[in-house]
């Protein structure tokens, strides 16, 4: 258990208070602009409210790891968007103290025409660092990803495994106050997976708070302190990792 949990001397890295996310979708909504405009003029559409998350509360201190478990469509992605500050809650409140590293869809900002090095600089800057920092760290990053010989070639010549390794190396090169991890532990071959798990543990051990979303329950028990089980946008169980995971498995 992390040293800080329980006492309020340190402020929580992330605090979600009774947060809900809901939105309206037009019944039978069309994916084309023309039909949408025509529908709007006809004015006979029914709105349906979708409740993606309901009354979620989380408090996470520096050094703590929270695992979020649940089936597909349970609201895990929406919860991550709340924590990543991409989405404000419809009701309730989200407070994040410090920087956030979302390790989600790694490599989404890559460009195939640019070289490996140019991509390191661009992707790192997208993740909140400066181009200069990235230039200084480029060697370390390529070393760690094991691809020194290729770094001046366009990214489109890389294999998908190499791209995933490079993305992981860039994203894990610096640490934030809050780390959001979504299924990135399954990147690359067995050897690289082992290496990346160690890297993740190193990141988390830097007194950062971390949120782990994965279906790998072994990794959850291995790394997390607390767990949240959500289903249909609601919290089913929230507490210490063993009891939540066991309840989830028995459900």
């Amino acid at each position: 258990m992390a040293a800080n949990s329980g006492d309020d001397v340190t402020e929580a890295a992330i605090e979600i208070t009774d947060a809900s996310v809901s939105y309206m979708i037009r019944h039978g909504a069309s994916p084309t602009l023309k039909e949408t405009v025509i529908q709007a003029f006809k004015g006979k559409s029914q709105d349906v409210e979708i409740r993606a998350l309901q009354n979620i509360s989380i408090k996470l201190y520096p050094g703590e790891v929270l695992a979020v478990v649940g089936r597909n469509g349970a609201g895990k992605s929406t919860l991550l968007k709340l924590m990543a500050r991409v989405l404000p809650p419809t009701h309730g409140r989200v407070v994040v103290r410090g920087s956030v590293s979302p390790m989600i869809e790694l490599g989404a900002g890559f460009n195939g025409e640019l070289t490996g090095l140019e991509n390191i600089i661009l992707y790192g800057t997208l993740l909140g660092r400066t181009p200069k920092q990235m230039r200084d760290r480029a060697n370390e990053i390529t070393n760690w990803a094991g691809m020194n010989d290729f770094i001046s070639l366009p990214l489109r010549t890389f294999s998908s495994g190499m791209i995933a390794r490079l993305a992981f190396a860039i994203a894990t090169d610096a640490v934030s106050d809050l780390i959001l991890i979504d299924e990135v532990l399954s990147v690359g071959d067995a050897e690289f997976q082992e290496k990346s798990k160690l890297k993740m543990k190193e990141l988390i051990s830097n007194n950062s708070a971390a949120v782990l979303v994965t279906h790998d329950l072994k990794a959850v028990k291995d790394m997390a302190h607390k767990a949240l089980w959500i289903d249909g946008g609601r919290a089913v169980k929230y507490g210490d990792v063993d009891s939540v995971v066991d309840a989830y498995l028995n459900a």
């Binding site: 602009l33 968007k81 990543a84 989405l87 989404a108 140019e118 661009l122 997208l126 920092q133 640490v175």
Partner: protein, 280 residues
Amino acid sequence: MEKILMKNKVYDSSQSGRVFADTFRAFWDHRQLIALLVRRDITVRYKRSFLGLLWTLLNPLLTSLVLWFVFITIFRGKLPDGTQFAPYVLAGVLLITFFTQGFNQAADSIAQGSGILMKIYLPPQVFALSGVLSNALNFVFGLFALTFVSLLTGDGVSYLFILSIFPILFMLMYVTGLGLLVSIAYIRYDDTRSVFAILISFMMYLSPIFYPKEILSGKVLMIVNANPLTSFLDVFRFVFLNTGSASWGDWAYMSSFSVTTLFLGIKLFARAWPRTVVMM
């Protein structure tokens, strides 16, 4: 291990931001990223074609050449006194290219980047602005070609050419605003691109790109004059080539239209974006 630091250390969702101040601050805070994105756009365009950067110039040059070739016999003599047709057309084509490509890229860059923008906290407006900026840069490259053509035809360049910065700046605002207004539709609806291609070509034909305004009258002239692109063209040709005339009305129309569009774009985008993110 190095730690990423946060500028505004605490994020609180219950504190609703001031939309305009936040957007402009985001532009400033992410200026290094904007520079990188602009450079990426230019590099990618340059790498993709055999002729490299020259291609971006060749495109408007060839378009102008065709227009010149087809229309020179019709419009010669219809232009205001002392205006050569070649620089007239090229100036029009360059400015309209800035408009259409800037608009497309602003709207598109948010749609293209939506994968990352919906997962990582980055103000999407930054992507729109950098898309427009790279086209502004292309436009500036184009000014060298325009200068060359204008000297060749004996028209020369106005000593006021430095004032071109104003039509450029206002076009930047206008296009960024429009791009923001439309980007949400780009993400949500598949047919947005084709619908807007038609609207944009309406706007193009209803502005004096390759024909002189002097040949128009009545309702058509009214519509063309109401088109903000007409004011942009008048002002730009006047300050750069010293041909035609730009009234104070043109300046006022151009600037107020651009500023209004930008603020409207920022405002509506900020409102619509979270609703779009939540659905994805």
